[in-house]
């Protein structure tokens, strides 16, 4: 594989984390415009820990995930009882606040004659842990997809379990779920926390892949894109969001056929696709059909 292909595949993997994070909330019946905030929290927290304090990446990733989950709980606690557009706008407001706080974040220190750390709108350079530790681009690609594979396996196992049934029932009909003894509020809070941690893990990897992050990386565009990825790919299986990302970043951007008109092609494709498949390519029916066919 050449470097370009490795870069594209790595990006597909990285954005799959935040798409999965939007997907799991969609299953629970909530449409979030704000998962990019936790991606950003993960990126900044992970970057600060490895580049400024020399913490090894695995530890930094765990800490960033905990912080992402915490941030998601803080946002979710006052908002998860809101419905539809109210929840979407509350998460959007929270995420935009996070982005502005990143813009206001000036937190630097001298390290071997160099200033490192977030410098407001100037961004945060020099997150070089993977280079300093001799990890090649191919190795990093393996790391990203290895983690993603593990997460998808967990998703697939969960979806066939009682927990997965609960998740979908909470999304389909919260009153019915509540009457069957599910504590809907607490359940959704748990889902939001997990989604936050997932997005944060993606953020840590994103920061270390790019070595440079800036507040603009985590604007509303990323949030709505991840929602769109989940919906195009399909709401029937955790592979759906991955398919969505792969279609946009992998096929359209990666193939470089469309150049400057990529967004026009992608936008039209998505709108037409949703007319025929409003729950995405891999929706529940297709997944059920595949499952009965191959098992």
């Amino acid at each position: 594989m050449d470097d370009y292909a490795i870069g594209v595949l790595t990006n597909v993997g990285l954005f799959s984390f935040v798409a999965l994070s939007a997907y799991v909330l969609l299953l629970a019946g909530e449409m979030s415009f704000g998962q990019q905030a936790f991606f950003g929290v993960g990126a900044y927290a992970g970057g600060i820990l490895t580049a400024m304090y020399g913490v090894p990446l695995p530890l930094a990733a765990l800490a960033a995930m905990a912080l992402g989950a915490l941030a998601a709980l803080l946002v979710g606690l006052p908002t998860l009882r809101l419905k539809g557009l109210y929840f979407a706008m509350a998460t959007l407001a929270a995420a935009e606040m996070a982005r502005i706080l990143f813009e206001l974040l000036h937190f630097q220190r001298e390290l071997e004659g160099e200033t490192v750390g977030p410098d407001g709108t100037q961004g945060f350079r020099g997150i070089r842990w993977i280079f300093e530790n001799g990890i090649e681009p191919g190795g990093f690609l393996g790391l990203v997809w290895g983690l993603l594979f593990g997460i998808v396996v967990i998703f697939l196992l969960v979806e066939r379990s009682r927990l997965g049934m609960t998740l979908r029932s909470v999304g389909d009909d919260p009153e019915l779920a509540a009457s069957l003894g599910v504590d809907v509020d607490r359940f959704k809070l748990g889902v939001a926390g997990a989604a936050g941690a997932l997005a944060a893990l993606g953020g840590v990897l994103f920061a270390h892949h790019n070595t440079y992050i800036e507040p603009r990386n985590f604007d509303i565009m990323l949030g709505v894109h991840s929602l769109a990825y989940a919906l195009i790919g399909g709401l029937g299986t955790a592979l759906g969001p991955l398919l969505g990302v792969a279609l946009d970043i992998g096929v359209l951007e990666g193939s470089r056929i469309f150049g400057g008109t990529r967004m026009i092609v992608f936008g039209g494709l998505v709108a037409v696709l949703l007319v025929f498949r409003p729950r995405g390519l891999l929706d529940e029916k297709v997944v059920h059909w595949l499952r009965t066919r191959f098992s």
């Binding site: 809101l82 557009l85 706008m89 967004m263 039209g268 949703l274 729950r279």
Partner: protein, 290 residues
Amino acid sequence: MFLDLAQNTLDGLARGSAYALLALGFTLVFGVLRRVNLSYGPAIMLGCYLATWASMAIHANLILLLAVSVAGTVLAGAYVERLCFAPHRKGSAIAAMVASFALWMQLEELAVLALPRHLYAFPALYEGSPLQFLGLTLRVESGVMIVVAAGVCVALRRTLYHSKFGLAVRAAVENPVAASLAGISLPGVFVRVFAVASALGGLAGFLISATHEQVTPMLGMWSTLKGLLAMMLGGLGSLPGAVIGGLALGLVEAHSQWFFGPQLRDLIAYLLLFLLLAMRPRWMTTQSAS
């Protein structure tokens, strides 16, 4: 100090009138179709880009530019309606919204391909000096914005309550089944509401561009975000609410910008929305939003 406060309030009202116009368009569509049109801002942007192009290519005068902005926005709006809202009328609101986001990407890219620079000059609405009274300054453009916003409110109210079209719209909102049994074509009402909202957007976009005397590729996202924010602050789904929400957003922004600067201004506006949503006062939750 008192004079500063009064001046900020005046600036806020002007700013808020623009937001109110944007929020009215959003609210019309949401109130009638129960759908969020994320492409609203980008359609406005396309209209204004078309007008910018007309001003550069044929030096069109302001009246013609207004017509081009409105026509361009309505055309883009019609495209969005056909592809994102007509097919999902009975289906999923999320699918319609994501589809409108997809077309956002398209419209924005189209506008940027046509005029690729980061900034284009837009002809000024008024070249003279601002009005001065009681020690306050009011730009004539801002005065026009306030007057137009007020006029649009009156006209919308008259249309909704004193015309056959308005009756059909209200019937379609109140009880769609009874309305269609009474011979009202729901798709027809939706299309016309969408057209009215788009025309309003074109008007708002023209006034905003002619006030700022420039267009940038940020116009699309800016219009969508400000319109949504104002609509939500006003409680979602009522036209007076949209106006109050727009004015409130303008006032909060003008005052917080003066006290704390532009970055904190945006932070405060979002914080206000977040807190209001989290506390859910009764006027914010009377409309169901699913």
